[in-house]
Each structure stands twice: as structure tokens, then as C-alpha cells.
């Protein structure tokens, strides 16, 4: 059972957390501009990385915050955890 360091609460047992899949999947800012293939890529396609992997976890039975975990999918070692940055997306305004 993993030990995971919630960036807000500290180190806790895996049972307090839930898994949220690959991190860094950005929702397209203009979904309507995407063709079916591109949309399907966003919607369904995820990496199946062997080795270092960035993923989302939620401290669901704790502070309920989502955060980023860097984990080795082979050894299960957790390398680092970090908060999600509070930044607005960089929206390109059409000239």
C-alpha cells in the first residue's frame, strides 16, 4: 500500500486517496474546432507509460484536493507530489 504525500495534509495511506488518471490532459479551449479524430484523442487516448508518469490523485477521504503525483509505474515509487497551479489558460484572441 502506497504512502502518498498530499501537498496540503502531508503523508497519508493510499486508502485515503483516489486515482484520477494521467495528469496534464488539457480540455481543448475550442472543442468545436476539433475534428472527430482529434476530439477522440482528447477524450479516450491516454499514455500507458512504463516508468515515470505524471498522474492526478485526489485526497478524497481527506482535504478533497486534487494534486499531481510523479510516480514510477514499474516500481510504484512516488517521486514527487505537487499542487495544481492556479492559472488561467492562455487564450489566443483572434485578431
Amino acid at each position: 500500500m502506497l504512502l502518498i504525500k498530499c501537498p496540503w495534509c502531508g503523508v497519508r495511506d493510499e486508502t485515503e486517496f483516489s486515482y484520477g488518471g494521467e495528469a496534464g490532459i488539457e480540455r481543448p479551449l475550442k472543442p468545436e474546432d476539433l475534428n472527430d479524430q482529434e476530439w477522440a484523442d482528447y477524450l479516450f487516448m491516454r499514455k500507458n507509460t512504463r516508468g515515470l508518469f505524471l498522474e492526478q490523485w485526489n485526497h478524497s477521504l481527506g482535504c478533497r484536493q486534487w494534486f499531481i503525483v510523479e510516480r514510477n509505474t514499474v516500481t510504484y515509487e512516488i517521486i514527487a507530489t505537487s499542487k495544481i497551479k492556479n492559472e488561467a489558460p492562455d487564450i489566443q484572441v483572434d485578431a
Binding site: M1, L2, L3, D13, G20, E26, R27, P28, K30, P31, E32, L34, D36, W39, A40, L43, Q56, N58, S60, R64, Q65, W66, T75, Y76, I84, K85, N86, E87, A88, P89
Partner: protein, 1000 residues
């Protein structure tokens, strides 16, 4: 008669006689016996029948490695299957049965398998019972009966089990010489230590040892060490406690058996405990397993491991034979011969495959009058139900060949030892790697993945002095690594013994002649033989994991503790590769079997899941309403009057509500408060409808989609202020919707300022439903509820009896209706007030069943019943809710090719043609006149009820191109009713114009 019991000796209490039965026969043993030692004392030779060939089998070992003496213990609700007699402590009244052997141990009908064994090689089950598939049920019945894998109790387990979580600096696994020293050394340095051992007493191999330590006998020395450990407040000693799992980040599980040794059932006590331990450091000192030697008929009852023989003599005062022969390739086994002789065996012969070399053990054996024969092997065993003798041949260790001619010797016990295999189980479970050691001829721990240390014989360290030394050093290192002040302990003084190295002897008879010889067993529990390994290789299997699965080597409940290494070595020989290249199979938890009871612990019955009750629950119980479990909530199903049955109650509740006034507890709805300056921006993404266009005070029915475009949840939402909203979700979806909203906010749009607060428990919701609802509610509130002032889909704040309430003019029934939100602390009071006020209109409480009928009459969906994760809003007839002007989660998916197919399943109504048959929910819909052969299935019935107000059955269904097929006739087919002819209809059956809910 305990014919094999010695007059004295052992750690048993001869003053405490215990009675027990084995296969119906009564026996006696002593306190301190295991079931195995007591059976041996009573001269019981056959304890079971083997899995495939049904050969008679006897006790081989004395611990976790035992493959044959596996019993059903106890009866009725407290019976346990798969118990190793070598690890079952005897108690008075113990009832044991062998699991294998039908109809009896001495006459086993399936022993014919042994005589026809040419047919039963590796892969036999795969090859024979595969076809035809429909016969599998018949095969299975006989296979299970013949295999005899024990029986689970049919009654609930009356025992009590619990779990305990703990942290420690050091967990020491195994309390033999190395483990004791490590625990003492770390403990004296101040570390918080847990030391666990699976036996009743600490000491491990020392319990049967005759060595002197510090001038004390081994057992006395162990007691002195244990006393020191127990005096340390920072050390916890757990006996009868098996560390069975080693998981990530030094998380380990221990199964402590608290009362198993006292009786079959001990009222008022915890029977077993599951310790969940997070340790900073783990010290593995589990010891080693002795290996059998592999030769023809090496499975006959009366063949026993050398270490087991020493255990039975020295610990239990049992002499398992009078006239034994010991077959060995190493020095350690000599101890068993010496113990036999000292305990009174008439003549003892040692057959050693090695040439003679000077050794302390050889000298001691000779001094005790033991006959020795070197450069010799056992090449066959004589006797069927009991060893009667052996065939001995000379052996040339240079060429690894056994002479063709043999001499016969009688004996009543064949003791064997093929050397030792370190118990690397937990090390391997932890992710550690093992390496084959060519000097010690065993796998030893190589690299570790976690903060663990292997010491003593599980590290391939054999001599007592070295084990003690390693334990002390390990305890010191561990304490040092934890920054504790190291408090050294002295190395106890032991006698130095000169030992000669073992000789690898994986199989006595060369491979090319194996086929024509009697079977040479590797895995007793699964009847895997040497020729099975060769067969697997001939059929193309080369990897150990494949050979394991094909031959079932190590697949039993003992996980190959006895036979795996021999099997791997023989695979190496068959493939012509070094053993190091074969590697081990994967070691998995549990190290020894663990009962389901202790895994479940207290999480059973009412403790399995929380039960949630609404604030109005007391009214429901007083009304004797049966409950329906929705999510974790108890919701009243219907409110029977007098001795009404469900269907009459529901008819009455429906008609009362439609004609006058009903009241329902809707408190289980998920309730979420949303506020913050970006609330509108956020909710525009979440809902399909135009949230921004809603006026303050406006309610709307909304659906949320997944990004795949499918309906995720639905409910009424209301705009309470410019940046303040109130959302409702389905009862079952409350928690997941809340988490899902948080996920979007935190991970995708963290720059939005929005606050989400769950109010599900804080607020209760009472629905007042029916044409007289306004009249009654108006009596209690100041707010003007007239249609002009408070029309359909509006919300306002008001007070009832001085209590703040939120009113919503919404309807899940199609009637004029109001939902009242009130602080849960006052909900029962408000409910009762409404009941009194509504008395003039015969206010009728109704439950979930009536709610379902009323909503189905209106064609309102239930998410999860009328949708299933593949239904988008257009399919459900909710296209009118979908904004064309803004983006929202799932919108892009609604434009995918698959989403705009014209033949998608669509929500429609169904009427039975005979106007009286209620169509079963789940029924499949097919053409009335189907061609023979496969029939296209157009959809299924999702909701179905008898409508009291209409006087006929109604149903909702999802049907391919359903909306284009209104008026078509189909057949509804289900497994539990005859086919019903149905007509496709629009899904709104009652008041299709919606005049009632808009009532003036």
C-alpha cells in the same frame, strides 16, 4: 494408544490429556501437541489421499511446508478448511477430517487414477476436459468431489474478528536465533519493535535444538531472551502471528490467531486479528525450509523430513519410527539420525550420497552407534500404505550416476533431507530480487527494494553462531539507521561445529530412464512428478512460469514451499541450463492461507456499509413503512394502511396525490450550494442549458453530461442570486457529482472563483404534491403563493412557524407541487405540521414506489434506470435542453458520427396491447413475427408500472429509432414471463400538455 509417544521429553504437558477425533476415530494427545504430533504419537500413518492419483499420503513436515496433512477442522458454522495439521494446536474436543479420500482413506475409489497414470500426465485436465464445453458441469462435479478441496460452512461465521493498524520502527519477522537477537539489539537501543512468529512459542529452530547457548539448553536460553524482550516497554511480542503479506512502502499484514488453540469457538473473544503494520524498517528472519530428495515412490507414508523428525522427538516426545533409514546429501540431517538413536530407535542407518569426509556430525553419529553408508542413494521405496523398506544403490558423484543393482533394506521410517531453501517469500513479495548461490545451492536474497534486511537462514546463513551474529549486527544497523543511540549486546557463546558442504542431488535417477520408473514426486499437494517437467519441456514449455501453470507445480495452498526448488532444478537439467537462469516463480501474499473472516474483520452485517437515515425517519418507522435502500439511504417504499399490500397502498397513494394531496420525504436528493464570482461561467460548462439566461429566482431542470456526451446526472437547479445557485442531484449521484464538479474546478479551471458546498445532510426536502398543495401551504407561509406571484419553476424564501424555508414550485409528478427545504433539525417538526394542516385534504404520505409511478406517467426519466451511460440527451428526448449557443462538457461529443446516427436507441412509451399485462422491466423487444434463427433485439423496457390514474399498465423503453416507430407493435420477451404484445407510444401518458403542474 499413543504407541509412538516417548516416556519423557518434549515441551508437552503430560498432565493435560486432550481428546480429539480424526475421521471419526477417537484419539488422545497432550497439551502442547500439534494435531500432527498427536496423530503421529497415535501411530496414524495415512492422513490423506493425493490430488490426482489418490495415493495414500502421510505427514512429511512439521510446519508451514506440510503438503499432505491438510484437514477440515470442526463442523457446522465454525468449520475451517485447508488447515495444516502441523500448525493446528491440539485442544480438547478437536474434530478433524481429511479433505481428500473418498469414500475412505484406506479404500479410495479413485486410486485407479494411479494405476492408469500414463493417462494423467501434465496438462491432463486441460487436454481431456475441454470438450465438449457443455459437459464441463458434469466433469466439474466429479473432479471437485475427487479432488476434495474442503468445504466452506453454510452458516454465517459466529466468530468475532478485528483489525488493528499500527506503526513501528522495526518489524522483526520470525523469532528464531537471528530474529530474537535483532529484536533485542534494536529494542535495547530504544526502537519501537514488533516481533512476530507464527508458532505458539518463540525460538524457531532452537525449540528442537540440543545445542547449548551460554551454557543453557536452547529452550531455556530462548526463555531468558524472551523475558528480556518482554521487559522492554518498546517491544511488542506477537506469537501465533503469521506475517503473510509484504506490500509497498513497508506495509505488512499479520494474522494473529488469538483463540484458535483453545477451542473451535470461544464466545466473547476475538478469534483472529489482522494487524496492518507500517514499519520504518523490516527485519526478515523467517528461517528456511528443508528440501525433500527426489527418487521413485518418495511420497509413501512414512517418508519424512529430517528437521520434522527432530521436531517430533525433541518438542513433542514422539518417535515416528523404530527402525529408520536417513537419506541425505548434507550434514544437518545427521541430527535427526542422532535424535532417533538417542530417543530409542533400535537401529539407524544413514545413506549419504557424498563420500566420507571428516565432520563433527559424522563423528557424533558414529559415536552413537549409527550405521553409515557413503557414496550411496535410495533408489526406490518399498511399501504402499506405509514404508516397508528401501532399495539402496551405490552412487558415483563424479558422473552423477546410480548403479543398476540395488540391495534391499527394511525400515519403518524413511527420513530424507536435500538441504535447505531460505524462506525468501516476504523478501520476494516486497520486490526484492533473489540470486542462485552456487556454493550454498539455494536462492538467497540479493537486492532489496524496500527498507528490509534478511538475516539468518532465510539469508542462507546456516550455523547458529553466524545467525546470532547476523541478528545482533542487523539490530545495531537498524537502530543506527534510525538515529538511535546503539546499545550493543554480546554474542552468546555457542559450540563451534565443523560441517561439510552439501552436495547438490536434484534427482537420484538419470533423466533418460525416468519414464519407466515409479513416480518421483516434486509437489505432493498437486501430484507433480519429475516426468511432468520433462513432458512440459518436450511440449515446448521453457519458462518456469509456464511450466508451473502446465504442471501445477507449486499451485497448491502450500505454494510449493517443499517442492518448488527441486522442480526448478529439474527444469534446468531438462533444458540444459544453469538453475540461475531458470529463476523463481512469483511469490505472492498470502504466505500461508488466511481466513476470510479475519480479512473481513468487523466490516460485516450492519458494519459493512453506513446506513443513512433522513431527519424524518422516525415518522416513516412509526408509519411502518418498509424501506428501500437507495445509495446508502433508507427511503420509505410505501406507507401501508392497516394490512394493505404494496400494490393497494401504491394505488391509494397515487390516486390521493393526483386527486387531492400527497407528501413525500425527498431529503435524500443531493444538494449543492454553488457561489462565487465565476459561478455562472462554471455552471454554463456543467449544464447543457443556458444558465446565464436564468433570472434570479428561476428554477430549471438540468442535465449534466460526461465529456462523452452521455447523461451523467440530472436534477432541478435554481438561481438564488446573481452569483449564487442551488443544485440538486439524484440520490445515488450526490457524492460522485460533488467530486466531479470539484475535479473540473481544481484541475481544469483552477482560475475560476467558485465555492461548492454540499448541503445534502444539512437541509431536508419535503415535497407537497397535488391540486390542494397550494391551499395547504398557503395556510402556513406569508409569501403569496398565487400563480401570478409564484408560478411554476420559481423559488422564494419564506418562513413556516418562524423557521426559515426555501420554497420551490417544481414537480416530479406533473401535479401542482412545492418542495420545501428546511434545516434538517426542524424537518420532522415541519413535516408533522404539514400532516396536521393537510388533514382536511386527506394528506397522504407516499414513498418511492408511488414517486416512480407518478413520474413514469409523465415520462420523467430516472438516471441510471432509463439511462445507462450510453444515452445522450437527444436519445432521452431532452434535446430541448441542449444549448446551441455555448460550449459545455460533452457538447462536442454530441456531434460525433455515432451521436447523430438515426438508429440510436430512443426513449419511448410502451402500452400492452391487452391493456392489462404489466411488462417486466428488462424485457427485450423483438419483432412480432421473427424469422427463425437469431432475432434482432431493438431495445429493452427500462421502467414499467400499473398506472392507477389511467387504469392500465404503462412502460418506458429504449428502442432503436423509437420515435419514428410510434404505433408499431413489438413483442416484449423476458425470462420470467410469456411474451407480451406491446405498442410503441409517446413517453408521456398523463396530462401531456402539462396543465396540472402549471395550475392557476
Amino acid at each position: 494408544m499413543q504407541i509412538n509417544r516417548l516416556k519423557s521429553g518434549g515441551q508437552i504437558n503430560r498432565d493435560k490429556t486432550l481428546r480429539f477425533t480424526f475421521n471419526g476415530q477417537s484419539y488422545k494427545g497432550y497439551l502442547g501437541d500439534t494435531l500432527a504430533s498427536a496423530l503421529l504419537a497415535n501411530g496414524v500413518d495415512i492422513v490423506g489421499r493425493s490430488f490426482k492419483y489418490h495415493r495414500p499420503r502421510g505427514i512429511v513436515g512439521s510446519g508451514a511446508e506440510e503438503p499432505n496433512a491438510i484437514f477440515q477442522i470442526g463442523s457446522g458454522a465454525t468449520t475451517e478448511a485447508g488447515m495444516r495439521a502441523t500448525q493446528v494446536e491440539l485442544y480438547d474436543g478437536l474434530v478433524a477430517k481429511s479433505e481428500k479420500g473418498w469414500p475412505s482413506l484406506s479404500f479410495d475409489i479413485a486410486e485407479v487414477n494411479d494405476w492408469c497414470s500414463k493417462l494423467f500426465g501434465a496438462g491432463f485436465y486441460y487436454k481431456t476436459f475441454m470438450y465438449p464445453a457443455k459437459f464441463w458441469k458434469i466433469y466439474e462435479y466429479f473432479l471437485r468431489r475427487m479432488a476434495g478441496l474442503g468445504a466452506a460452512p453454510r452458516e454465517p461465521d459466529p466468530d468475532y474478528y478485528n483489525h488493528q493498524n499500527t506503526h513501528c520502527d522495526v518489524l522483526v519477522v520470525g523469532a528464531g536465533p537471528a530474529g530474537l537477537m535483532a529484536a533485542l539489539s534494536a529494542g535495547k537501543s530504544g526502537a519501537k519493535v514488533i516481533i512476530a512468529d507464527d508458532q505458539a512459542n518463540f525460538g524457531g529452530s532452537l525449540l528442537a535444538s540440543k545445542e547449548l547457548i551460554e551454557g543453557l539448553t536452547a529452550d531455556k536460553w530462548v526463555s531468558s531472551q524472551l523475558q528480556m524482550l518482554e521487559e522492554l516497554p518498546n517491544v511488542t511480542c506477537l506469537s501465533r502471528s503469521t506475517v503473510f503479506g509484504y506490500y509497498d512502502y513497508n506495509f505488512l499484514t499479520i494474522n494473529e490467531r488469538c483463540t484458535n488453540h483453545l477451542s473451535e469457538f470461544t464466545e466473547g473473544h476475538v478469534r483472529q486479528k489482522l494487524w496492518r503494520v507500517r514499519a520504518k524498517r523490516v527485519v526478515l528472519a523467517q528461517g528456511a525450509f528443508e528440501r525433500p530428495l527426489v527418487f521413485p515412490n518418495n511420497d509413501r507414508p512414512g517418508v519424512m523430513l529430517a528437521s520434522a523428525v527432530s521436531n517430533y522427538i525433541n518438542r513433542y516426545g514422539v518417535l515416528p519410527g523404530k527402525n529408520p533409514i536417513l537419506f541425505t546429501n548434507n550434514d544437518s540431517a545427521y541430527q535427526a539420525a542422532i535424535d532417533m538413536k538417542i530417543a530409542g530407535a533400535k537401529s539407524v542407518l544413514v545413506v549419504d550420497s557424498r563420500s566420507e569426509q571428516p565432520s563433527d556430525m559424522v563423528d557424533e553419529a558414529r559415536n552413537n552407534g549409527i550405521e553409515l553408508q557413503f557414496d550411496a542413494v535410495i533408489r526406490n521405496v518399498i511399501g504402499h500404505t506405509k514404508v516397508k523398506g528401501v532399495e539402496i544403490s551405490t552412487y558415483d558423484s563424479g558422473s552423477n550416476t546410480c548403479a543398476a543393482q540395488a540391495t534391499k533394506r527394511t525400515c519403518d521410517l524413511l527420513i530424507y533431507s536435500g538441504g535447505w531453501s531460505p524462506a525468501v517469500h516476504l523478501h520476494s513479495q516486497s520486490g526484492g530480487i533473489n540470486k542462485w548461490d552456487d556454493n550454498r545451492h539455494c536462492f538467497v536474497p540479493h537486492t532489496t527494494k524496500q527498507a528490509s534486511f534478511s538475516i539468518g537462514s532465510c539469508n542462507g546463513t546456516w550455523s547458529l553462531e553466524d545467525c546470532l551474529k547476523e541478528g545482533i549486527a542487523c539490530g545495531r544497523d537498524v537502530a543506527g539507521s534510525l538515529n538511535l543511540k546503539v546499545n550493543d549486546i554480546n554474542l552468546p557463546i555457542t559450540k563451534k561445529i565443523k560441517l561439510n558442504p552439501m552436495m547438490p542431488l536434484w534427482q537420484v535417477i538419470a533423466e533418460n530412464s525416468v519414464e519407466n520408473l515409479p513416480k518421483q514426486f516434486l509437489d505432493y499437494q498437486n501430484d507433480t512428478t519429475v516426468s511432468d517437467i520433462y513432458l512440459a519441456v518436450r511440449e515446448g514449455y521453457t519458462g518456469i512460469e509456464h511450466v508451473k501453470r502446465y504442471t501445477a507445480l507449486g499451485f497448491g495452498t502450500d505454494q510449493g514451499k517443499l517442492g518448488n526448488i527441486n522442480g526448478m532444478a529439474i527444469l534446468a537439467i531438462a533444458l540444459g541450463k544453469p538453475i540461475a537462469e531458470i529463476g523463481t516463480t512469483t511469490f505472492r501474499p498470502a504466505y500461508t492461507p488466511v481466513s476470510f473472516g479475519v480479512c473481513a474483520g468487523e466490516d460485516i452485517g450492519e458494519m459493512f456499509e453506513p446506513t443513512r437515515k433522513t431527519a424524518i425517519h422516525d415518522f416513516h418507522t412509526e408509519s411502518k413503512a418498509p424501506f428501500e435502500i437507495v445509495g446508502q439511504w433508507l427511503r420509505p417504499w410505501y406507507f401501508p394502511k392497516d394490512d394493505e399490500d404494496m400494490s393497494s397502498a401504491v394505488i391509494r397513494e397515487c390516486l390521493a396525490t393526483r386527486s387531492s394531496l400527497g407528501i413525500m420525504d425527498a431529503s435524500t436528493l443531493g444538494k449543492i450550494d454553488v457561489c462565487g464570482k465565476d459561478a455562472v461561467t462554471f455552471l454554463e460548462k456543467i449544464y447543457t442549458h443556458d444558465v446565464a439566461k436564468m433570472a434570479v429566482g428561476q428554477c430549471a431542470y438540468g442535465v449534466m453530461l460526461g465529456e462523452d456526451g452521455m447523461i451523467k446526472d440530472d436534477g432541478v437547479m435554481a438561481r438564488l442570486g446573481e452569483n449564487h445557485f442551488y443544485l440538486t442531484t439524484t440520490t445515488g449521484g450526490a457524492a460522485t457529482v460533488m467530486s466531479w464538479l470539484e475535479q473540473w474546478l481544481q484541475t481544469e479551471w483552477p482560475h475560476l472563483t467558485v465555492y461548492l458546498t454540499s448541503l445534502t445532510d444539512q437541509l431536508s426536502t419535503i415535497a407537497l404534491v397535488g391540486p390542494n398543495s397550494r391551499r395547504v401551504l398557503q395556510k402556513l407561509v406569508d409569501a403569496d403563493l398565487s400563480n401570478d406571484n409564484f408560478p411554476f419553476m420559481k423559488t422564494c424564501k419564506s418562513e413556516i412557524a418562524g423557521l426559515k424555508v426555501d420554497l420551490f414550485r417544481v414537480s416530479f409528478s406533473g401535479e401542482l407541487a412545492f418542495e420545501i427545504n428546511v434545516n434538517s433539525n426542524f424537518a420532522l417538526y415541519i413535516w408533522n405540521l404539514l400532516m396536521v394542516t393537510g388533514r382536511d385534504f386527506e394528506i397522504t404520505p407516499y414513498g418511492t414506489e408511488t414517486m416512480h409511478v407518478l413520474r413514469a406517467e409523465k415520462g420523467f426519466i430516472i438516471v441510471g434506470q432509463d439511462t445507462d451511460g450510453s444515452i445522450n440527451p437527444h436519445d432521452a428526448g431532452l434535446g430541448w435542453l441542449v444549448s446551441k449557443e455555448k460550449d459545455f462538457i460533452g457538447k462536442r461529443s454530441l456531434e460525433r458520427v455515432d451521436s447523430i446516427r438515426s438508429d440510436r436507441k430512443q426513449l419511448v412509451g410502451l402500452l400492452s396491447v391487452d391493456n392489462k399485462s404489466v411488462i417486466p422491466e428488462g424485457a427485450q423487444l423483438i419483432e412480432k413475427k421473427s424469422p427463425s434463427g437469431p432475432t434482432p433485439m431493438y431495445g429493452h423496457v427500462s421502467s414499467s408500472y400499473f398506472s392507477p390514474v389511467l387504469g392500465h399498465p404503462i412502460a418506458l423503453a429504449l428502442i432503436e429509432s423509437g420515435r419514428n416507430r410510434i404505433g408499431d407493435k413489438l413483442l416484449a420477451i423476458s425470462s420470467d414471463a410469456k411474451a407480451i404484445e406491446v405498442t410503441i407510444a409517446k413517453p408521456i401518458f398523463y396530462d401531456p400538455k402539462g396543465e396540472r403542474q402549471h395550475a392557476k
